[in-house]
């Protein structure tokens, strides 16, 4: 490999297959009506995702990272239609996701599948593997002949490196990593083009995580899959992504190629996240002390939501909400939502991961 991080050519030239435009999802978490009437409590709205936009090109992996409660899983669910967006549109192969429940949408939906975090909860314990993997085939009416279904299930199990004999077993007979392979086989059943992976390896041990990540990369290469990868683990994201979006309190604060994110992080929050990772290389680098925790999303700070934790915050940051803007730098270009970056107030190069 050359001295620079390799860019996936798909990131630059692939056609855009998923478009999210200003999507938002609010949840009503108000106290019950009686409490509101008797105790004068107010309506409360949780803005889990508030105005997120991105494109995903064919054949690339876009990752969303952030800490718990930043809305990354909600974005995943919005993209596959498990939640209806409160605002904004998701376009998939040029069709609006709201059309998905029509007859025409059905065939589109086959191209879109999801892998969930917990392989213990996402497989029905009373179904045999054969039925689990064949369910999408039956649901979409792709195959009806039992022999054809059988053959396809064998094929899928081999694809995820399980044995065809495994299809007579129940999920409890498998380890966590094997279960996640079953989920992947199920997701692949309808020949999808786009997979939404919501923390697919977070519940797994590192050696098993390596097996699943390798498998996902192989499948992407062999089948030309496109991934939206949700994770809180920056090392995993660095390994698998072509582009990375960093989320904080329901918004994307920085979006750039993997190389730009890891070698020239711009947003103070991204710098902080990279700085906080325990260092296996033991370079003994000094950490910038990071103060504070994620604020209550029910009552987010005004202006830039990161301002109470940000060393560069000034009065503008506390009142005016920053928008994602293109920022050019030595390592390329980055979309970043930060007044300090825009005004060039951050002189400190900060922490960078030296890419070899």
């Amino acid at each position: 490999m050359s001295a620079v991080l390799r860019e996936n050519p798909a990131t630059l030239t692939g056609d855009v297959i998923v478009k999210a435009r200003d999507i938002a999802r609010f949840f009503d978490v108000s106290p019950p009506w009686l409490n509101r009437v008797l105790e004068g409590k107010r309506h409360q709205i949780l803005r889990a995702v508030d105005g997120v936009s991105f494109d995903i090109r064919r054949g690339e992996t876009l990752s969303l990272v952030g800490e718990s409660g930043c809305g990354k899983s909600t974005v995943a669910r919005l993209l596959v239609g498990l939640y209806v967006p409160t605002r904004g549109e998701v376009e998939f192969f040029g069709h609006n996701l709201r059309e998905m429940n029509t007859a025409a949408g059905r065939s589109l939906r086959q191209k879109l599948q999801m892998i969930f975090q917990d392989p213990y909860a996402s497989l029905n314990p009373r179904w045999r593997v054969a039925d689990i993997v064949a369910e999408p085939l039956r649901a979409h009416g792709l195959l009806s002949d039992p022999q054809a279904i059988d053959k396809r299930v064998d094929e899928l199990l081999l694809q995820v490196k399980l044995a065809p004999a495994d299809k007579a077993k129940y999920p409890h007979q498998f380890s966590g990593g094997q279960r996640q392979r079953i989920s992947i086989a199920r997701a692949l059943a309808t020949h999808p083009e786009f997979l939404v992976c919501d923390e697919p390896t977070s519940a797994l041990d590192v050696s098993v995580q390596a097996q699943v990540l390798n498998l996902m990369k192989d499948l992407q290469r062999d089948l030309g899959l496109t991934y939206l990868f949700i994770s809180h683990n920056l090392a995993v994201v660095h390994h698998i992504s072509d582009r990375v979006g960093v989320m904080y309190l329901g918004r994307i604060v920085e979006l750039a190629s993997r190389r730009a994110i890891f070698s020239a992080p711009q947003h103070p929050y991204t710098r902080m996240l990279l700085d906080a990772i325990p260092d296996l290389a033991m370079t003994g680098r000094a950490r910038t002390p990071v103060a504070g925790e994620v604020p209550n999303p029910l009552n987010p700070p005004s202006g830039c939501t990161f301002n109470p934790r940000c060393p560069y915050a000034n009065s503008r940051c506390r009142t005016e909400e920053p928008l994602l803007k293109l920022h050019r730098h030595a390592e390329g270009e980055t979309l970043v939502a930060c007044h300090a970056v825009e005004e060039g107030r951050i002189q400190d190069p900060g922490f960078r991961i030296q890419q070899k």
Binding site: S207, A276, P278, L280, V290, E293, V294
Partner: protein, 350 residues
């Protein structure tokens, strides 16, 4: 490290769970020691027995689990066979504990101040007013803002990271010699994780407290520990200084484990993967428990269980490092050339 008298010494510890279908050996014949002020990291994947080792040391094994063999010594005194009321005095006074979930280690019905003061009064025998003053100091030293006000708050009024700070304050309240920290940062977000690790490290260095840090996160170990013990299927696979185990692992399992962690520095298309998964306790393979997954396994591994033997600057339980008999034995042959001396082993074929 060897020069100092060990604070904690574990010798041939064996933890069993009798079940209807036979006895499960969850921790099998492990020995290690921790010197005063030292941080020993214990890593392994789920089911390796790392948490049970910690639980056995603090004497909190849940029946039917029991210590079946071996001994645990703290400052030279055996603590594994103490009656429960004496053990309770050791725990808290001499051994502090930090668990994964800070919410379950605090009593939700009492203010954190009451819990801290109770611990200080019980173990150090000081007056309540003095104990309260010390409790406020402790909270301040763990970085909790406005401790004189926060001391009267209940656990639910703290956030996850703040709660873990309270738990650390509680573990250190009686100034113990040893802290057993079982996955102290696993339930926390990365930005909080770093804060908690550096806090634990700083406080223990100041007070010369020894720490047994149990975690599955190699990054946390690399940042915090002085020495590392790697566990596999209830046994110690390798133990040695942290830099050596991370950069020059000797046991094939450690080599695989290190290679499977995605790195920021190396650009790799594929991660090293160890085929298969950890055996279940009901079906631990004969000989070396790792042999069915090991790319270097040979006949001897299948029948004879290796003990820890010198391997580089560490000690590893692997026949590849058997210099005494191995060098003369036929069986070693070419495979010895494949002994992983560096942290890179060719990725196993798919």
């Amino acid at each position: 490290m060897a020069a100092a008298e060990p604070l904690l010494e574990v010798r041939n510890l064996r933890v069993e769970f009798p079940t209807r279908r036979g006895t499960l050996v969850a921790v099998d014949d492990i020995s290690f020691s921790i010197a005063p002020g030292e941080v020993l990291g214990v890593v392994g994947e789920s089911g390796a027995g790392k948490s049970l080792t910690g639980t056995a040391i603090i004497g909190l094994l849940e029946p039917p689990g029991r210590i079946a063999a071996g001994e645990i010594r703290l400052n030279g005194r055996r603590i594994d066979n103490l009656p429960p009321d004496q053990m309770r005095r050791v725990r808290g006074r001499e051994i502090g504990a930090v668990f994964q979930d800070p919410l379950t280690s605090l009593n939700p019905l009492y203010t954190v101040g009451r819990q801290l003061i109770e611990t200080i009064v019980t173990h150090l025998g000081v007056a309540a007013g003095e104990a309260r003053r010390r409790a406020i100091d402790l909270l301040a030293s763990t970085g909790i803002p406005a401790p004189e006000r926060r001391i009267d708050h209940f656990p639910h009024q703290f956030s996850g990271g703040m709660r873990q700070r309270v738990v650390i304050a509680l573990a250190l309240a009686a100034e113990p010699k040893l802290v057993v920290a079982d996955e102290p940062t696993t339930a926390l977000d990365v930005s909080i994780q770093a804060q908690i690790i550096s806090l634990l490290k700083r406080l223990c260095r100041e007070k010369q407290t020894a720490v047994m840090l149990v975690t599955h996160d190699m990054g946390v170990i690399a940042e915090t520990a002085d020495r590392v013990a790697v566990m596999y299927a209830g046994r110690l696979a390798e133990i040695g200084p942290v830099a050596d185990v991370v950069h020059r692992p000797q046991h094939p399992y450690t080599v695989g484990l290190m290679g499977s962690i995605p790195s920021f520095v190396k650009e790799t298309e594929r991660l090293t993967q160890i085929e298969g998964s950890m055996p279940r306790l009901t079906a631990i393979p004969s000989g070396c428990a790792f042999h069915p997954r090991c790319v270097h396994a040979f006949d001897r591994c299948r029948v004879e269980r290796p003990d820890l033997m010198p391997a580089g600057t560490s000690r590893a339980a692997c026949w590849l490092h058997d210099q005494v008999r191995g060098s003369r034995s036929e069986v070693r042959g070419d495979r010895a050339a494949g002994v992983p001396r560096t942290s890179h082993v060719a990725p196993s074929s798919r």
